[in-house]
Each structure stands twice: as structure tokens, then as C-alpha cells.
């Protein structure tokens, strides 16, 4: 399904500019649990601006309108033996490409295959003056002009609506296996980091419920050799496991009703010594720790800062303001960038104040 709604989006932004009435940029709402309370009444709906504009399997590039669903893109790529990079998190079928970039979260492949931003080659966007900007391009290497395309990762609509995106896509590996090991948490953290330093085709490491899961992708002989080196047991039905992690449909994400915290730490940070026991899961080869907690204590926050990381509420709690995680200088740098794109603070102003 393909519709070009750019004219209406431009009109809506021009109207906002004229009336100085702020608007919110919204995709499918797959992250409403995080953002809904901060949206304006006037919403620029991006889901109607959808469809794949250009897909060249032999170029490894795909250009799509921002409202295109990730599901559609995955299907089209799958038909050509290709895939989206880095297991972009996908919580519902209607989730859009533009939304994924505006949120900027990456999936389990992050430490090995790169973040979403690493696969963005170009974007078309609208700034706060209602002007269409085309930055980056459709080629693998491009260093002309500032890198506006990747800058938009994590911008949550505050710099302007993303109209279209060109992605670098990857061939699907021939085979995938997942090895698993029963380990104590600190041993698992060290083991996954050691494995990641070995020349093996590892593409994800997750620790959950006393078990380390290591995903390997490549051709059959390479995987056999890696399995011989690493030992461990092969997981039955690994696709299902990784899909459940990517879509947050794994029992870990479903069964616990407490607020969920997204904790980013150095990959080698040992088990977090929080005041109370909390159910948790380690992703990103140690770099991402999902924690369930009704409330983290002051000393928990301090501990996480001391190991070199930060924590933000993900679900079931008042969202953490990114600005609360920044130094005043970092915050001011962000505000300057925001002003450069949206001088009248028209786009998602409440979220922008967060920055």
C-alpha cells in the first residue's frame, strides 16, 4: 500500500507556522506507552505517508516513506533474501520506519551489527520553517554536508517530521544457530564479552534466567567451526526466541506487570548491585539491562551512574526526561540544535522541553 501524503503534511506544518500553534508528529503510536502524555492536540499523522519508493536489492538500499510499516519492509526484503539491520525493535505490526528512527532504539544485534543509525544513508525531512530538506543520499558513502540523517535518530519528532528514509539493508545470513549455557550472572557477563572479542560470527548475546544465549549467523561450515570452539547446547527453534525478544513478546516482557526500566551500562559492567532483587534481562552483550522495579532507590541510581551508565523508565512509569540524564552543557547543545531546526518550537514542544 502506497500513498504520498507529503503535500498535506507540508500544509499542516505551514498552518502551524502561520498560527504558531504547536503540533505533534506521530507514527503508529507503538510507543504511546512512553510518549502519549506529552503530545499536543494537533497531530501530524505520519502513517498515511507510506510506501516503498525504491528498492534495489543489488545496491543493498531501500528508500521508503516514513509511515511505511516495518512489517511491510521486512516482507519485501525477505522476498529478496535480505533483512533490516540490527533487529529493530518491533512491538506491533503497525510500527513505522519513521517512528523507529525517531525513537532510535536498537535491538539485540546492536553491539555486532550496529545501531539503527548506522544503517541510515539519507532522509527527507521538514524543518520548522516548513521547508523540505534532503540530506544524505542513496549511496553507501557520502560525506557532503552535515550528517542530518543520523542526527534525527532519537529526536522523537522534535526536529521535524521525517518524510522518507534510505536504509542500507543486509543480506540474510544463510544459517543461524543459537548456543546456550547455564551460568551465574557475572560469569555470563564476562563470557559474553570474551566471546565477542573472538573472530566468530556472533550477532547477539542475551542473558536471562541464569542462561546465556549466543546467536551466530553465517554459512554452515563457519557455524559448525564456531560451535566446536564455543561448546554449549544448541537452542531449539532459535528464530522464535529472538523474535520474541525483538517484539517484547518473550514471557519476560509479558508476565511481569511492574514498571520496566531501560538501563544502559558499559558491556562489561558486573551484575548491578541494586538495593532490592529485581527481575532483569541482559541484552546487547551486557550493554543493556532491562529491569523490573516498582521503584528504583536513590542509591540504585547512584550505583548505575558509578558503573558509567544511566537508566530511563521505559514502561509503566513517568518517562525519564532525556535532559535529566544530561549535563547542562549537553542540554544546551541539544537546545541549540533544536532551535536551528525549529526556531518557533512548533514540533512536539513538551518533549522538546525534555531535552
Amino acid at each position: 500500500m502506497s500513498t504520498d501524503n507529503q503535500i498535506n503534511i507540508v500544509e499542516q506544518v505551514e498552518q502551524a507556522l502561520k498560527t504558531q500553534q504547536a503540533v505533534s508528529i506521530r507514527g503508529s503510536g507503538s510507543h504511546d506507552f512512553m510518549l502519549a502524555d506529552y503530545l499536543e492536540n494537533d497531530v501530524v499523522d505520519m502513517t498515511s505517508h507510506r510506501g516503498i519508493i525504491d528498492y534495489q536489492p543489488s545496491e543493498l538500499t531501500l528508500k521508503a516513506r516514513s509511515g511505511t510499516t516495518l512489517k511491510e519492509i521486512r516482507e519485501v526484503l525477505g522476498n529478496e533474501g535480505q533483512r533490516l539491520p540490527t533487529d529493530i525493535p518491533l512491538y506491533e505490526d503497525q510500527a513505522t520506519l519513521g517512528g523507529a528512527i525517531a525513537i532510535g532504539h536498537s535491538g539485540s544485534g546492536r553491539p555486532f551489527l550496529g545501531a539503527i543509525r548506522d544503517h541510515i544513508l539519507g532522509v527527507g525531512m521538514l524543518n520548522g520553517l516548513g521547508e523540505v530538506l534532503n540530506c544524505g543520499g542513496q549511496v553507501m558513502k557520502n560525506v557532503a554536508g552535515y550528517d542530518i540523517s543520523r542526527l534525527l535518530c532519537g529526536s522523537r519528532g522534535t526536529l521535524g517530521p521525517i518524510l522518507d528514509i534510505t536504509l542500507k539493508v543486509l543480506p540474510k545470513p544463510e544459517h543461524q544457530i543459537t548456543l546456550h549455557y547455564e551460568l551465574e550472572e557475572n560469569t555470563a557477563i564476562e563470557t559474553m564479552n570474551r566471546m565477542a572479542g573472538m573472530p566468530l560470527p556472533i550477532t547477539a548475546c542475551v542473558f536471562l534466567d541464569h542462561r546465556l544465549y549466543v546467536r551466530l549467523e553465517g554459512n554452515e561450515p563457519g557455524l559448525q567451526q564456531a560451535e566446536y570452539k564455543l561448546g554449549g547446547e544448541r537452542l531449539d527453534n532459535p528464530d522464535q526466541f529472538w523474535q520474541q525478544v525483538q517484539q517484547q513478546q518473550h514471557p519476560f516482557f509479558i508476565e511481569n506487570q511492574q514498571p520496566l526500566w531501560r538501563t544502559i551500562v558499559p558491556t562489561t559492567a558486573p551484575k548491578l548491585e541494586l538495593e532490592n532483587h529485581h527481575e532483569h534481562m541482559i541484552d546487547w552483550c551486557g550493554g543493556l539491562r532491562w529491569i523490573y522495579s516498582a521503584e528504583l532507590t536513590q542509591s540504585d541510581f547512584i550505583h548505575i551512574t558509578n558503573v558509567g551508565g544511566y537508566v530511563e523508565s521505559f514502561r509503566g512509569q513517568t518517562p525519564t526526561a532525556p535532559s535529566a540524564l544530561m549535563t547542562p552543557l549537553q542540554n544546551s547543545f541539544h537546545q541549540k540544535v533544536k532551535t536551528a531546526f525549529d526556531p518557533d518550537n512548533l514540533f512536539n514542544p513538551v518533549l522538546s522541553n525534555f531535552l
Binding site: Q56, E59, G104, H105, S106, P111, G114, R117, N127, E131, V132, L133, G137, Q138, V139, M140, K141, N142, V143, A144, G145, Y146, D147, I148, R150, L151, L152, G154, L159, L170, E174, N193, A196, G197, M198, P199, L200, P201, G218, N219, P221, G222, Q225, A226, I264, V265, P266, T267, T268, G287, L288, G308, G309, Y310, S323, Q330, F333, A340, F341, L355
Partner: protein, 498 residues
């Protein structure tokens, strides 16, 4: 105002050398302040030596505090400041301008931390690219981006230019291999950007913004780089083709097969001949040569290599040569890596271009380049990173012949415009600098250029950081008249024309 974001125009006042010297001496030792002509000469150009200008002054701070002092001073006095690494850049990005101080970061050359378990290193900007991989080597790790100048170029410069290299296709550019930065902003404040030891950070991706910003948005003082495991093995196959179009098709077939080679390079006959005469790399002389490297474990490579061999044969490749050991692999690369100096031996001067195109356009673009070559009466050797569509046509000319440099530049500009028209870009990895400032007008329209200038103005209110580079002023584009007419509208309608 020194800098006008609505147009990108800037103007700086003359300043008194003695006064500035005495002011800076309050925080810097005399030997860190160069101002005599003989001392200044090495700073008159970078790797693009066709453009030269002796700077008025060069400063060589040794500490972060000294550097912050210099930046604050220049901010308050509105003196332009040009940060410089090893000066190996190929686009004139550190060419001095009138009234500028050159800030050399050469003394910041320490690796501050290397954590093999975490697979990262924290380094100062003046550390050489190759030195990082050398330091990581005992742990079986390396830093992936490998620009051809890697023995000399520094990591700070790599970040400023978002440098590439022959292994970009599989391992990415500098931007994909950097985890965090500490920068000094235009007012002298030190700011941490990106995650550093973390794989994410709150807010916008400012790390990406700094990569490739060519010294216009901040001074890079510390870089956290990602290290990756050295592949167990690597092997190169050479393939000769009688037709360029067959080689182009082979590139397409390889990528479509689902294999991502570690390197996929192509050379044309003139480049092959020059390289072979220079380093005797055992290259077959043909219309086109493809160099394909695979890495991984040996069993992985063996399987993929047999796939690639049959793909190549199907595309009419001949003289297939597979490296049998590390020495031979190095030899096969030696020819490619020496291609530029090799071409330098057959012509008094050459002009290296850096456009990128979608791979499928390769045969067509090569035909057009050959046509330009006849039209301008200048030879052109083609060397390219075929895997990612990054072309390096080398235009051969003789600067001593009146008008030849201008002809070569015009020829180069035509190639870059062609790249843009084919959906590509004027620069894949060398940066814009001063060299491609005019062709930027062909790639970007007025709204993007104004947005770039506005962003710069927000982050550098006095416009002191490397002014005049990377982003052309709107006046410049308008004067060139080289803009495309978009949807029947004249470009830059806000600028008066006479």
C-alpha cells in the same frame, strides 16, 4: 557580525600579531606559538597541495586547558581558528584563510585507555589511525576504518572527515566505529557527546553530527573507538575482464549473492598498467581488474570463495588468481594501494576525485568519464571502491602547461556533477573542504544550505571554527550559476541577481 547564517557569508577583522602573541603567552609557552615564516611553511596546505596559503600563526597546545584558552580567546576576539591533525586530508579542509590561526593537535597523541574485554580504546585526536590497531593487535583486535593514509593520518582528522577506506563496505566508515567524543565547543567548553563506553546515549545523535563536520562545529579532543576482533583469515582473488561492463556486472552479482566482501576494488587499464610497472603486483593487464577480499574463518572463506569464483567466470572473468598466503595477499593489495603514486609516475600531476554513485550506474558513468576525457584532452585513470560505488578517477595533467590545471578542475567538476545526477554524491570519503565547495551547490539546494549555516551559527555564534569550508555561501552558489533549476524555480530566489 562575523558570520551571517542566512547566507553563509563571513568577514573577519585584521588582528595585531604582537598583541595576540603576548596575550596567548600568558597561558602558553613561547615554543607553542609559531609565527616565523620558516616555521609556518609546513602548515600552508594539506594533502591537496594545489591550494596553499601561509597562515599568520600556528599554535601547538599540549594540554586541554591551553586548548580551551585558545578557543575562548579566539571566540571573544572573533579570530578564525582552523583545527589540524596530520594534514593528510585531500580536500583542503585545513587550508589557512586570511586572519586565521591554525590549531595543531599534533601533541595530543596518547592512547589513554585500551580495554580488550570491552573492545574499545580511548584516544587523543593526534593518535595515528594505524597506531590504534597496532596497540590493539596483541589482543587480537583492531580499529576497522583504514583510509589509505592510515600510517600518517590521525584519528581526530578521521572523525572530522568521516574517513573511509577499502574495508568500509563490510565494516563501515569512521562514524560507524566511534562510540563517544569529547569536544571543545566554539566558546571553549568541554562537552561529552555519544555514549562513550555505553552503546546508546539520551537525545539526538550528536556523535553522528560531529563526524564529518570538518572542524566547523567543535574541536575534537578525545575519541572512544570501537575495536573488533581481527578475522582469523583473509584471502584475495584477482579477476581480469576484457570489458568494463562485465566487471561492473560481476560487482553486482557478488553483492546480490548475499556475500559482503571485506573489500571489493576495481581498476581500469591505465591504472593497472601504472601499478604493475611500479610495484610488480602480478596483475594481469586487462581492461578491468577486480580485487575481491573475503575475511572470516578459513572454512567460511573457502565456501564463499568457490561461490565467487563461479560468479566471476559467469561474468567472463579470466586470469583468476587466488592469494595462497599472506605475502601474496599483501602483494595483490600493494598494487591497488600504490595506484595513486603509480599514476604519479606517468604524469607530472594528477587530480584525484572522490564521487560516489549507485553501483548499477558504474558502466554508464565510466563511459561518460571516457567521453569527458576525450573532450578535455586529458587522460584519466580509474581506481575505485567498487563495492560501495566510491570512484576515484585520477585526472592526469601537467601544471606547467598553461591552463591544464583549470581544465583538470573543470573535468573533475563535470565528473562530480555526473555523480550527483546519477543519484550519488560529490564526496564519498575525502570531504568537501575548499576543493568541492563549488560542486556542493550542485548537490544541495538553498533550504539545505541555509539549514547547515543555521546549525553552524547556533553552535558557533561568532563563526570562528574553520570558516569558509565544507558548506558554500549562498552568494557563492548564486554567482557560480551552476545550480540546478528545481521544479522550474530559480535557485536561491532570496539573493539579488544583476
Amino acid at each position: 557580525m562575523a558570520f551571517d547564517p542566512s547566507t553563509g557569508q563571513f568577514e573577519f577583522q585584521n588582528w595585531d600579531l604582537e598583541k595576540v602573541l603576548s596575550d596567548l603567552k600568558t597561558e602558553l609557552p613561547a615554543e607553542a606559538l609559531l609565527h616565523k615564516t620558516a616555521q609556518l611553511a609546513p602548515y600552508e596546505c594539506d594533502g591537496l597541495s594545489a591550494y596553499r596559503k601561509i597562515p599568520k600563526m600556528v599554535v601547538l597546545p599540549e594540554t586541554l586547558e591551553q586548548t580551551q584558552f585558545i578557543v575562548r580567546y579566539c571566540h571573544h576576539r572573533q579570530i578564525p581558528l582552523i583545527a589540524r591533525g596530520a594534514g593528510t586530508g585531500l580536500s583542503g579542509g585545513v587550508l589557512p584563510i586570511e586572519q586565521a590561526i591554525v590549531l595543531s593537535l599534533a601533541k595530543f597523541n596518547h592512547i589513554k585507555k585500551l580495554d580488550p574485554l570491552q573492545r574499545l580504546a580511548v584516544v587523543e585526536p593526534g593518535v595515528r589511525n594505524l597506531a590504534i590497531s597496532e596497540a590493539a593487535d596483541p589482543y587480537g583486535l583492531y580499529y576497522a576504518p583504514d583510509p589509505s593514509s592510515q600510517i600518517a593520518c590521525t584519528i581526530g582528522g578521521n572523525v572530522a572527515e568521516n574517513s573511509g577506506g577499502v574495508h568500509c563496505l563490510k565494516y563501515g566508515l569512521t562514524v560507524n566505529n566511534i562510540l563517544g567524543l569529547k569536544i571543545i565547543d566554539s566558546e571553549g567548553d568541554l562537552i561529552t557527546l555519544g555514549g562513550g563506553e555505553c552503546l546508546d546515549s539520551p537525545g539526538y545523535d550528536l556523535l553522528a553530527l560531529m563526524n564529518g563536520s570538518e572542524g566547523l562545529l567543535g574541536i575534537i579532543m578525545e575519541i572512544t573507538v570501537r575495536l573488533i576482533p581481527k578475522p582469523e583469515s583473509a584471502q584475495v582473488i584477482l579477476a581480469a575482464f576484457d570489458k568494463m561492463s562485465d566487471a561492473g556486472r560481476a560487482v553486482k552479482e557478488i553483492i546480490s549473492s548475499g556475500i559482503i566482501p571485506a573489500g571489493l576494488e576495481m581498476m581500469d587499464k591505465l591504472a593497472i598498467q601504472a601499478a604493475e610497472d611500479f610495484v610488480h603486483a602480478d596483475y594481469p593487464i586487462a581492461e578491468a581488474l577486480l580485487i575481491c577480499e573475503l575475511d572470516g574463518t578459513q572454512v567460511e572463506i573457502d565456501q564463499q570463495m568457490s561461490q565467487i569464483e563461479s560468479l566471476l567466470k559467469n561474468c567472463n572473468a579470466h586470469d583468476l588468481r587466488l592469494s595462497e598466503n599472506e605475502a601474496q595477499r599483501a602483494l595483490f593489495w600493494a598494487g591497488r594501494k600504490a595506484a595513486f603514486p603509480a599514476v604519479g609516475r606517468i604524469s607530472p600531476d594528477y587530480y584525484c576525485m572522490d564521487g560516489t554513485i549507485p553501483r548499477k550506474e558504474l558502466p554508464d558513468v565510466l563511459d561518460k568519464i571516457a567521453e569527458f576525457s576525450r573532450q578535455y584532452g586529458l587522460r584519466c585513470a580509474n581506481v575505485f571502491h567498487a563495492g560501495d560505488g566510491n570512484l576515484h578517477p585520477l585526472i592526469l595533467y601537467d601544471a606547467n602547461q598553461e591552463g591544464e590545471l583549470e581544465k583538470a578542475e573543470q573535468f573533475g567538476a563535470d565528473i562530480l556533477k555526473l555523480c550527483v545526477d546519477k543519484g550519488g554524491t560529490i564526496t564519498g570519503e575525502h570531504g568537501v573542504g575548499v576543493e568541492k565547495i563549488d560542486t556542493m551547490c550542485h548537490q544541495f539546494h538553498s533550504p539545505e544550505l541555509v539549514q547547515f549555516h543555521t546549525l553552524k551559527a547556533q553552535l558557533d555564534t561568532n563563526g570562528i571554527l574553520n570558516p569558509g569550508k565544507a558548506i558554500p555561501s549562498l552568494h557563492r552558489c548564486a554567482e557560480l550559476g551552476a545550480m540546478h533549476v528545481h521544479n522550474g524555480e530559480l535557485p536561491h530566489p532570496e539573493i539579488p541577481r544583476f
